[in-house]
Amino acid sequence: MRVNRRMTATVATAAVVGLTLAACGSGGSGGDDSGDSAGGQVEVFTWWAAGSEKAGLDALVGVFDEQHPDIEFVNGAVAGGAGSAAKDLLQTRLQAQDPPDTFQAHAGAELQDYIDAAQIEDVSDLYDEFGLTDAFPADLVDRLSSEDGAIYSIPSNIHRANVVWANPTVLEENGIDPEAQYDDLDAWIADLEKLDEAGVTAISVGTTWTQVHLLETVLLADLGPEAYSGLWDGSTDWEGAEVTAALEDFETIIGLTNDDRDGLDWPEATQLVIDGSAAFNVMGDWAVAAFEEQDKVLGEDFTATPVPGTDGVFDFLADSFTLPVGAPDAEGATAWLETVGSLEGQVAFNKAKGSIPARTDADPAEFSEYQQGAIESFSNDTIVSSLAHGAAAPVATLTAISDATSKFTTGASDLAGYQSELAAAAQG
């Protein structure tokens, strides 16, 4: 018995000691795995894990390997939930002070939280070093600058949010001219109502964020670019009559959408137009990939025009790369940022991904027909920031606006309630 008891004690002690050791061991290994050697490596954290995004990333890596053959690229892509899984993991890693060397983020106000938390570095110097200030349109540089005038990320590509996709066959069948140019939303809504009476889904929309996307284009159409931008810096009154009128239009349009919207993400909503069960869909220009994948031809099988009332305005959003504070290999990260901003990098990436370069010196002839049109608009139009994609407002504001929008479109709040919730959300 005695022996037995002693043995128990030994085992127990061993267990405790082992556990303590294990705890110590895991505490130490945090930042030392990415080497400090001259060559170095760069861990690039993105949510580009599939489809055209993956193809774009691969093309960008190809250019990076040519420009910086001594630095090893480490793919830190996280799949799932249109980036939400990646953002969740990123939040944890930044919190634990274990940042990747560089991470993908929407350019603009969405970065504000990281800036406030001192998690990303000011990269304005790199703009001068790489000569990006002149390569990007001045409007864009303005939109990228934070309140203190510094810039915290380098955009890799530009997307346009205010695009309406239509199926000309459905329009013709219901007696609507697919070539029609609408001067404002009212004219468009009249046609939408005609389609609705004919028993077609006039305009398809998906879950909450696509509804917010629709809301932002409606606000942009009714308020105009200046007043729309004023919504985000406080110079336009959210409680004003103009906003009320825009929200009334939004209410009308939502009434003409598909009933199962809350269960769909954007590909399914766009698919309704491709399949001909809906006439219109408002979605960013990444939707062009969905049409092209199914061998649809622009101008024949589908049309892409600015949302009525927003002609001459480019509602932009951009993916961009940052330099986190305490990046294990800051040199590698800087090299990556150089490639991201370079002409070769932007052309290779955007040709594969279907977006357009942020630089104005790219040759449009290298791109597809839709992209050529977008490049032209980008250099001529007034540029405003997208709300639904993080360019216009910080995450907390966007979350509050999304909540209010979901509440309104499911019928839990009336227009006045919605408007005051939006006003409260924008105040933060």
């Binding site: 127990a12 405790v16 001192a118 964020w209």
Partner: protein
């Protein structure tokens, strides 16, 4: 002294690893969560210590409980729990009652009813999202289409997109998945009742109803209570099924667990922690009386 150490020491050492782990990773983290919920740590800057976070007592809790949106989440939680509990208990009991009499192919039925439990909520959620599609008439699919095919067009509805009762639609797949489990519990309960008791009651001239009412039901009540507790606490923590059928931003299907996720994603750690504490308290209200009761019974 040494003797006492010899007697208490080894067991204590053996228990120490689990005590430390539970202490740190369960109770320690609950305490950390609770203390976060008492601060105004609502932004990323405060979470990383760039800006100070102040201690605000129970302000977050009061604000949450006063907000209409959180009340809506709580109402949803209650609705979901009531329907889920009632559904699984009724279905589970009925199935157990039918299988309790010796039937042909009992094993087959038992597996058929129990099988949905083997499917993860996320996987079944994907299928049920399609079945519960809220399109009606021409565009209908899923169950609404089925209703049309069998000529029950009036039964078509918008399922989980109903702003008040949408959450009840999500309880349907939950009931489908867990009724079999409740059935298994009840079946075990029925099998645990000795035949002598039934025979004695019959000899005494009890009718079938009286037999159930006065002999079988009292014997089954501990099983029923366990089932209620198990299903009840699962229901209060419902998250995965709701996330895979609906989306976190959808107002109609919000419950506190979804709110917690949304708060956390927008760097509002204080409110996320407060919602977590509220959920913990609600679950504790269900579990603790049960534990106390079991403990007392074991001592007896």
């Amino acid at each position: 002294m040494l003797k006492k150490l010899r007697r208490v020491g080894p067991p204590l050492l053996l228990l120490a690893p689990s005590l430390i782990l539970v202490g740190v990773f369960v109770y320690g983290l609950i305490a950390a969560n609770f203390s976060t919920s008492l601060t105004d740590n609502h932004t990323a800057a405060q979470a990383t210590g760039q800006k100070p976070a102040a201690f605000v007592w129970f302000t977050n809790y009061l604000d949450l409980l006063a907000s209409e949106d959180f009340q809506h989440s709580l109402t949803n939680l209650v609705l979901y729990t009531v329907v889920f509990l009632a559904g699984t208990m009724v279905m589970g009991f009925l199935w157990a009652w039918m299988l309790e009499k010796p039937v042909k192919g009992e094993g087959l039925f038992r597996s058929v009813y129990l099988f949905p439990m083997a499917v993860s909520f996320v996987a079944s959620g994907v299928v049920w999202r399609w079945l519960l599609n809220s399109n009606q008439d021409e565009q209908a699919s899923g169950l609404n289409r089925l209703f049309q095919v069998v000529g029950l067009d009036v039964l078509q509805n918008n399922w989980w997109n109903n702003v008040t009762f949408g959450i009840v639609a999500i309880a349907i797949p939950a009931i489908w998945q867990l009724s079999g489990y409740v059935m298994a519990l009840f079946l075990a309960g029925f099998r645990g009742i000795p035949d002598e008791l039934r025979e004695a009651a019959r000899v005494d001239g009890a009718s079938e109803w009286k037999l159930y009412r006065h002999v079988l039901f009292p014997q089954l009540s501990p099983v029923a209570l366990s089932a209620l507790i198990i299903i009840g606490h699962m229901s209060l923590k419902a998250f995965d099924l709701i996330m895979s059928i609906s989306k976190p931003a959808n107002y109609q299907t919000k419950v506190p667990a979804v709110d917690m996720f949304v708060f956390k994603s927008s760097f509002d750690y204080a409110n996320a922690a407060a919602v977590g504490s509220i959920l913990l308290i609600i679950v504790a209200l269900v579990i603790v009386p049960y534990l106390v009761r079991t403990n007392r019974e074991e001592k007896r």
